[in-house]
Symmetry: C2
Subunit: 212 residues, 2 copies
Amino acid sequence: MKQFNSRDIDELHHLYRINLINSCSGYKSANLIGTKSEDGFSNVAVFSSVTHLGSNPGLLGFFLRPTTVMRHTYDNIKATGCFTINHIHQDILEDAHHTSAKYAREVSEFDVTSLNKIYRDDFHAPFVDGCPIQLAMEFVEEHSIPANNTVLVIGKISQLFVEEDLLHKDGFIDLSKAKVATINGLDAYAVPDFHRRLEYQRPKPGFAGRED
Amino acid sequence: MKQFNSRDIDELHHLYRINLINSCSGYKSANLIGTKSEDGFSNVAVFSSVTHLGSNPGLLGFFLRPTTVMRHTYDNIKATGCFTINHIHQDILEDAHHTSAKYAREVSEFDVTSLNKIYRDDFHAPFVDGCPIQLAMEFVEEHSIPANNTVLVIGKISQLFVEEDLLHKDGFIDLSKAKVATINGLDAYAVPDFHRRLEYQRPKPGFAGRED
């Protein structure tokens, strides 16, 4: 296997390093986060770090760098206390990826792409029309990460919208049926067309288990 | 679309809720985290929350509940300051998923599955032999999440091992070529067999950009 130690990584060319390190954690979620400023400028941006934190209450988190990039998303969340999460699917890959371009605050990504915003139930932040799963999120807390000057933003799910035919009887949402994408690295999008569900696992006979 | 508000979510049957909320953030990374206690008990466990935090330095994070489940992984990391991250791939799906069974501390998942541990360069924690990407991680910091009593553990990549034929000239690691898995919800594994790389995006002509 090819081996890189931390010094090798430090000394890599910038672009090589960001491709390598962005690829090395595995597949990432592919979401569009929608926000709107207090003065009415809407924003939508691609994020690959939305992660499940817990189901009771339903909490999700994501990472950003508020002082450098993605500042519109962060500023809008801090000012308004809300945002939306919308799943990127096969039909909108190019437009979703284009939201990574660095537009000025007064330019809405909804105006320069074919992505359409939709408002639901008087929620302040815009959803992305047509996404198979759409979440209204309330800001809960943020954590500064001193190690690299990023911020973990945590939100609570206040509304969950899902296309009915994706929903199994036990609550499972079939992402492959929805043609939801997953991200490899910075710029590669995969759309899995199949999955296998495995059973709940218990210790094998003859081996000691634990209670928790 | 089917709609759930936060009260609906609170009132769902426990199993329905964990399936629904675990599915709703999108595809998740599929990793085995390897650790070893100070007194020599090795542990390997499936995690779906490993997330990229930054490339310079190379930082990854993951979430766990130290007071309830996954305590062996957490205790070992806190005691020894290190762990490994190993990508789950098509050939080990069942064994990887089986590591979610609740074994006693003295039972190593390496002994009850076909997963084989391997040690590299005197690193204390075991790697999972055969995984196409294997990372040696040094503990950096942890953050308590009051909202649901979880912990974000952040580690720095100290060694990165990757199969040579997965590595593109620009540092991109081809996860689909490696048959790396991604997780949908609690128990569904997908193995994407294709991806599309899209170009770096700049603002379209006629629209204002920003500097950052």
